[in-house]
């Protein structure tokens, strides 16, 4: 009899746990899988909408298709492209595509629905034939200029006998790239031809500006609503963990291989021989770090929620794809002492989402279209669409740094009984800036909540911490938080990248080992 009681009690508690946990993003958003043309390798390289409402997508084997959401009709627009990884619709008849060798404007001039003109807009960058020299973008600013990302080559392969562009590598001669031991001097990722590791600006008139060096694998360029450029980069050599950079002209973003192509770089100087301290002083830190294994391992395109509320309560914020799991990350930006930094929080987990979410575009109706890829790594393929169902999820909406803590705003009022000191669990750590591949988390420590205050709106909490210093990721795990309407917090994890204090202090010597 007693046992039965316990049994029942445990069932009841189990059920309540289940109820609590079942608050998934799928309760607030619905997901559709889009049927793809039969026989197509549907790894998506780029997505956009034409003004006439047709979706336009480019694919791994070089095809560009349009898709009409009204009648679900796919139509071939162009083909024969070399690994296109980005597309931007210019009109109902024109798109600009970033393919491996070239930024190409593709136009259907005779109006039969299929492209007939392929114009090389920009191809004045180098290629060694190394597989890792992907070309990303284009992202378009409000003026109509394009920004593209030039991947570094990987020492998983060498360079080919014929190159395009000048060869320059101050650690290794072209001849020595043929030797088996080239890996010891090439660098894990290398930039042996022009503008590898750079973000380039191509004006709509076709003029190129070398915009910013320091990238490794910038597979994602996007603008926010203030015309600010954001670029993701992938964990690896010189990147302790994956990152989101706010990219500005002339700044250096940390991976040194690209520096040999800077105008002011001293000829013959091997960037791998420059001290890490010197490079650290030169670099601009990432606005947001995505903790490896926790938030994202291979971030993709950042897209701004430009739907003015049609996609839910995160208007103006960035969403970022992730290759390795069924996730879309949300980024909350915070301008502190003139520089952008901020936090990341899981936005969409599982609930039908494939892995490998690579490219995004918002439809006029506020739905988010998602194209997946894998390119033989972890990922997926195909096209999905997410729509908001109008119900507000209980989420962390924004997070702002205070001199002594954070101001955190939720999408809904918190239950009165919330105990911030118990339920808001902070820890902090950092990733080293170093040549080695990735970095463990260093300096992991709990950070005590020493006080809190709830603002009158019921949604905002000021959390005061015992240690607030630059050069750390502040990770917050929120336990069992319930909104006033009894809904559970959908995503209780947020990671804030603290580069700079409100007083401008950004000293973080611990990021470089002595």
């Amino acid at each position: 009899m007693k046992n039965t009681k316990y049994f029942l009690a445990s069932i009841v508690s189990l059920v309540s746990v289940v109820v609590l946990r079942s608050a998934g993003i799928g309760d607030y958003y619905s997901l559709d899988n889009i049927a793809m043309p039969k026989g197509l390798d549907s790894q998506v390289g780029g997505l956009d909408f034409m003004p006439n409402g047709r979706l336009v997508a480019c694919f791994h084997r070089g095809e560009v298709y349009t898709y009409h959401p009204k009648n679900n009709e796919w139509k071939l627009f162009a083909d024969g492209l070399h690994e296109p990884l980005g597309i931007c619709a210019i009109s109902d008849r024109e798109v600009v595509v970033m393919q491996r060798p070239e930024l190409t404007k593709i136009a259907d001039l005779n109006g039969d629905g299929e492209a007939d003109h392929y114009q090389a807009v920009f191809d004045d960058f180098g290629m060694t034939g190394n597989y890792h020299e992907f070309a990303f973008g284009p992202a378009k600013d409000s003026r109509g200029d394009f920004y593209i990302g030039m991947n570094l080559a990987s020492n998983g392969a060498s360079i080919r006998p014929e190159l395009r562009g000048e060869f320059r590598h101050y650690g290794l001669s072209r001849e020595n790239f043929k030797s088996k031991s080239y890996k010891s001097s090439s660098g894990r990722m290398y930039a042996a031809t022009p503008y590898r590791g750079w973000v380039l600006k191509i004006s709509k008139e076709g003029e190129m500006t070398p915009f910013a060096p320091g990238f490794r694998s910038p597979n994602g360029l996007g603008f926010d609503l203030k015309d600010q450029l954001f670029v993701t980069d992938n964990q690896g050599d010189w990147l302790g963990t994956s990152k989101l950079f706010h990219v500005q002209n002339g700044r250096f973003y940390g991976h040194p291989a690209s520096l040999t192509w800077a105008d002011d770089w001293q000829s013959g100087q091997n960037p791998l021989k420059v001290s890490v301290k010197e490079l650290d002083a030169k670099r601009t830190r990432a606005a947001v770090l995505f903790p490896q294994g926790l938030m994202a391992n291979s971030p993709t395109q950042p897209i701004t929620d430009s739907t003015k509320g049609k996609f839910g309560p995160f208007s103006g914020q960035l969403l970022v794809g992730e290759m390795n799991r069924s996730r879309i990350v949300r980024v909350i930006l915070d301008k502190v002492a003139g520089e952008i930094q901020g936090a990341c929080v899981p936005f969409y987990d599982k609930a039908g989402l494939s892995k490998g979410s690579h490219r995004f575009v918002f439809g006029d109706d506020g739905s988010l279209w998602i194209g997946q890829t894998h390119l033989s790594w972890v990922g997926g393929q195909g096209l999905q669409r997410i729509r908001w169902n109008g119900k507000i999820p209980f989420e962390i909406h924004s997070m702002k740094l205070l001199p002594n803590g954070f101001k955190i705003t939720f999408t809904k009022s918190l239950k009165k009984a919330t105990s911030v000191a118990e339920q808001f669990q902070f820890k902090r750590y950092y990733y080293e800036y170093r040549q080695a591949y990735g970095s463990p988390q260093y300096g992991i420590e709990k950070v005590k909540v020493i006080g809190s205050k709830r603002l009158n709106d019921g949604k905002t909490v000021m959390v005061y911490l015992d240690k607030v210093n630059p050069g750390f990721v502040y990770q917050l795990d929120i336990k069992k938080l319930i909104a006033e309407d009894n809904s559970a917090l959908v995503n209780p994890l947020v990671c804030y990248t603290l580069n700079r204090m409100p007083n401008g202090d950004d000293k973080a010597p611990h990021l470089v080992r002595n």
Partner: protein, 381 residues
């Protein structure tokens, strides 16, 4: 026992790529036909005194200069009915010759010249046993004949100009079929299973077809193009020049596409010309660099546009019709200077040019000649 063979490896490859229903139907159809043939044979033996049922086959002419059935078996003196269906976008016929006479007949057809069309491109030779007329795209013809008495391997071939080197198969009369991979009576691609027949796109076989893709013996900005009549070429968008030419099947892009792009597409056919160090068109200053500007598609074929010394150059490459080969049509409309086109080694091919003078591997043209001229590269047979 009657057996006909199709590209089963092909069908499998397609299935693994997510085949359409059409293909499964094709498979079923082939199986059914196989059983039908077996049943018919049983009937034949049961009613031996009655005239034997003929062996009925449908052979399709497909794009890429191929018959879908590339060999079959029959008994001596058996009645055979071949329904030739032309599914390609070019004209084809089917000529059955005496053993070992395929090339002789195909070459004799080439020499028919202006008379060819009227004669269905079938030469008057004893080596020709049976033949269909030339079929337009989308048409078919039923060819009925009695198999020869003498056992042997009887080739069948398309004698339409330029096709005979690639488009053929073998009728085995009173002889067992050898191992497919070792059957030297078949085109090379049939022997090794035709890689181009993998379903790589949402469309089926298509020519012209163009890929920008990593290619051997070219810069990383290479272009591969499949033209009609089984012609193919590699053009280099970094150097603005034709790199090499081959006939037969196009490329296997799989080494590039199967993963992240680490690999080179494989040339499937037979290369017959390579530029070597012969560079791009030169205009005026010999050290001028060519800048690639893109291409326009004309009837599915790219006309490349590039600029040399600030002069616009347009180059369209099309297949030749009466022989295996390609034609390069150049337009250099707004130019006042001497033009020289390095043509590379042309002693092993049939090289023709519409204007200019050939001098030490260079075609030299004055500005007026260069406004519009062609050069062609044909296979010597």
């Amino acid at each position: 026992m009657v057996r006909c063979e199709t590209e089963s490896t092909t069908a499998e490859a397609r299935l693994s790529f997510g085949a359409s229903g059409k293909l499964s139907i094709l498979n079923k159809f082939l199986l059914n036909r196989y059983y039908t043939a077996v049943v018919l044979l049983i009937l034949t033996f049961t009613f031996a005194p009655v005239q034997a049922e003929p062996l009925r086959l449908t052979i399709k002419a497909r794009s890429g200069l191929q018959y879908d059935i590339f060999r079959f078996e029959t008994k001596p003196n058996a009645f055979v009915e071949i329904n030739l269906v032309n599914e390609d976008d070019m004209a084809h016929n089917l000529v059955i010759t005496k053993p070992g006479q395929r090339l002789k007949v195909a070459n004799a057809a080439l020499r028919l010249g202006v008379e060819g069309d009227a004669k269905n491109w079938v030469p008057d030779l004893d080596s020709v046993l049976f033949f269909t007329p030339v079929l337009k795209p989308g048409s078919s013809h039923l060819l009925k004949f009695k198999a020869p008495e003498a056992s042997g391997v009887y080739p069948y071939v398309c004698t339409f100009p330029g096709h005979g080197l690639l488009m053929y198969g073998a009728m085995y009369v009173g002889m067992p079929l050898p191992d497919l991979a070792k059957d030297m009576n078949l085109p090379e691609l049939a022997r090794r299973g035709n890689l181009t027949q993998k379903q790589l796109h949402a469309w089926g076989d298509k020519r012209p077809l163009m890929y920008r893709i990593f290619m051997p013996n070219a810069s990383p900005a290479a272009v591969a193009v499949a033209l009609r009549h089984g012609q193919n070429y590699c053009w280099d968008a970094a150097q603005c020049r034709l790199r090499y030419v081959w006939y037969g099947a196009f490329v296997d892009p799989w080494p590039v596409w199967r993963g992240n792009g680490n690999g080179l597409a494989k040339v499937l056919g037979t290369k017959y010309w390579e530029a070597g160090s012969a560079g791009a068109v030169q205009i005026g200053d010999k050290d001028s660099i060519a800048n690639f500007l893109g291409y326009k598609k004309i009837d599915g074929q790219p006309e490349f546009h590039y600029r040399v010394n600030n002069v616009d150059v347009y180059e369209l490459i099309t297949p030749l019709h009466s022989v295996i080969g390609i034609q390069r049509s150049f337009r250099i409309p707004n130019n006042k200077q001497l033009v020289s086109l390095p043509v590379g080694s042309v002693s092993q091919v049939i090289f023709k040019h519409s204007a200019g003078k050939l001098k030490e591997g260079m075609l030299i043209l004055n500005a007026a000649e260069a406004a519009e001229f062609t050069v062609s590269i044909g296979l010597k047979q």
